[in-house]
């Protein structure tokens, strides 16, 4: 009995455990929908005008003065302007049309830019390297475009594209006007010596004095080479490959003005993605403003951090402590199935158990009584006459019903009531017999004694 109670308790415990596991699992589903693996630790890239030092000291004359200047000569370069272009190609693109170009320095505030735009006589306005004219603005959309624009201030392709747009002609093919040269051994040695000391080399004219604190290359010590924007036609010096050979395994970030290149480990995996994403998003602002190199570099490193965190190139994610719930989650289905199995087994057991029992519990008195009454009926059947035979037959009928009820495991009370009916009928028959001793009560007492 105690065993049975224990099993019943185990059955309920299994059910409760299964329900609890199910609830935990469902709740964990909601949690996992909230979990983000891409929450990058880079600082926000939001900017407001002037907050990031993008406004320069440069200023522009009044609109009337500029109008007077542009009417005197076709190309007006205001002091501080950085944009330059291939004059022959631009003139060829203009064809016979006369177009006036007003070039303003980068880093103007909104009022100054409005003044530049108020010069109606200028066909094309170049503010920094932002090229606008008529209803159009020409912007680069490839790494080559951006490299020319930000490393060298070369807006030739942009101007030609804009002029073609103004003349409603198809734009000619771009030509890469940026020229590079490998550094001489002495130059590399000087840069490498500086890098070994501080990790940062700032060429004369570059504005990068301190590297912004960004954890873009965890576990590695990056090197930074900052050079100014190439304003003359001198080729750009490409330090990256030489330094990569000199410092294998270290990330090398090379700046030319606003243009940033990455050399070193995993360069093929992410450098283009990071640069394309960065200049596609910020190229517009970089062309108009004069950001310090440190701010440009900070934003770039933030983008690199984002890309790395998104898993675009193979670096291990920074360590995150394991969530015990998420670690335990895979065992829940097994636990659930086990609980269901236990509950099912115990339920089946309690379902099948009663089928085996009733026969064993049967009392012995009833079959003996049935046997005694049957024997009495057999004896009486030889003695009955026409008066008593119907009662005897009724008694035998009731005895037959009692026997089949006994065989069918019907309840004890039912069998006993059938036997009582049979006994009453036999008693009635016995009273009609001329011989004593056949009354069932006497007969059974005699037999069973």
């Amino acid at each position: 009995m105690a065993d049975r109670r224990l099993r019943e308790a185990a059955r309920w415990v299994a059910l409760a455990a299964a329900v609890a596991v199910l609830v935990i699992f469902v709740v964990a589903q909601r949690q996992s929908a909230d979990v983000s693996y891409g929450r990058s630790p880079s600082t926000s890239a939001g900017v407001t005008e002037g907050a990031a030092g993008e406004l320069s000291d440069a200023t522009v004359p009044s609109a009337e003065q500029m109008t007077a200047m542009i009417n005197k000569t076709d190309v007006v370069r205001l002091p501080g302007s950085v944009a330059r272009w291939d004059e022959d190609r631009v003139r060829a693109a203009m064809g016979a049309e006369r177009m006036r170009i007003l070039v303003a320095p980068p880093g103007l505030d909104k009022a100054e830019r409005d003044r530049v735009r108020d010069v109606r006589d200028a066909t094309i306005r170049v503010i920094g390297t932002e090229v606008t004219g008529g209803a159009y603005q020409a912007t680069g959309d490839s790494l080559d475009d951006w490299r020319a624009e930000f490393a060298a201030g070369d807006v030739t392709n942009l101007l030609i594209t804009l002029i073609a747009g103004l003349r409603e002609q198809p734009p000619p093919a771009d030509a890469d006007g940026v020229r590079w040269r490998e550094p001489a051994a002495a130059e590399v040695a000087a840069v490498a010596a500086q890098l070994r000391r501080t990790g940062l080399y700032t060429a004369p004219g570059a504005t990068l004095t301190e590297v912004p604190g960004q954890n873009a290359f965890p576990g590695r010590e990056p090197l930074y080479v900052a050079q100014p924007r190439q304003s003359s036609d001198a080729p750009l010096v490409r330090y990256g490959p030489a330094l990569t050979r000199l410092f294998p395994g270290r990330p090398i970030v090379e700046l030319h003005g606003d243009w940033i290149e990455y050399h070193g480990p995993d360069a093929g995996d992410f450098a283009e993605v990071a640069a394309a994403g960065f200049y596609a998003q910020f190229g517009d602002r970089l062309s108009r403003y004069a950001y310090p190199q440190a701010n440009v570099l900070g934003a770039y490193l933030g983008r690199v951090t984002d890309v790395r965190y998104a898993g675009l190139f193979d670096r291990p994610l920074p360590y995150r402590p394991a969530d015990p719930l998420r670690v335990a989650l895979p065992v829940l289905p097994w636990l659930f199935v086990a609980c269901v199995g236990v509950f099912f087994a115990l339920s089946m057991r309690s379902l099948l158990r009663p089928l085996r029992r009733p026969r064993a519990r049967r009392e012995h008195g009833t079959p003996a009584r049935l046997a005694g009454l049957t024997a009495l009926a057999v004896e009486m059947s030889a003695l009955t006459d026409s008066r008593s035979e119907s009662a005897l037959t009724r008694g035998i009928t009731a005895l037959t019903a009692a026997r089949s009820a006994l065989d069918d495991d019907l309840p004890e009370t039912h069998v006993r009531s059938l036997l009582t009916d049979a006994e009453a009928d036999l008693d009635q028959a016995a009273r009609l017999l001329p011989y004593p001793g056949y009354r069932p009560a006497d007969y059974l007492r005699e037999r069973l004694a």
């Binding site: 670690v327 289905p333 199935v337 339920s347 009928t397 019903a401 009820a405 019907l410 309840p411």
Partner: protein, 116 residues
């Protein structure tokens, strides 16, 4: 974009399939209902068999009384016929009780006819 991390991604498909949970819940409910319902069904079946056992006994007794009766009792025969019809159609406890009651009435009528 490639996926990063995600413990679920590393589990085999069949392990996290909702199928397991659905089947498990179905088994839980099924076993629970079965355990709750089985004794009732069993008791009901026993009641039905018991009731039919009494009804058949009553009908057999009434048939004996009819054979023992020298005269025909039309009313009793009608009652017994109805009882046998109900018994032939099978049915539940109520049908069995009705059949048994009809048979007992017929039996009483025949016995009264013999003594009367």
């Amino acid at each position: 974009m490639r996926h990063v991390g995600g413990r679920r991604d590393r589990l085999p498909e069949w392990l996290i399939m909702e199928w397991w949970w659905t089947a498990g819940v179905a088994v839980l409910f099924g076993a629970g209902f079965a355990v709750a319902a089985a004794p009732r069904l069993r008791a009901a079946a026993l009641d039905r068999r018991t009731a039919w056992s009494s009804a058949r006994a009553a009908i057999a007794t009434a048939a004996v009384s009819r054979d023992a009766c020298p005269a025909r009792v039309a009313e009793a025969e009608g009652l017994l016929t109805r009882a046998e019809t109900i018994a032939a159609g099978r049915g539940g406890v109520a049908a069995a009780r009705q059949a048994g009651e009809l048979a007992r009435q017929a039996d009483r009528l025949w016995r009264a006819a013999v003594h009367g």
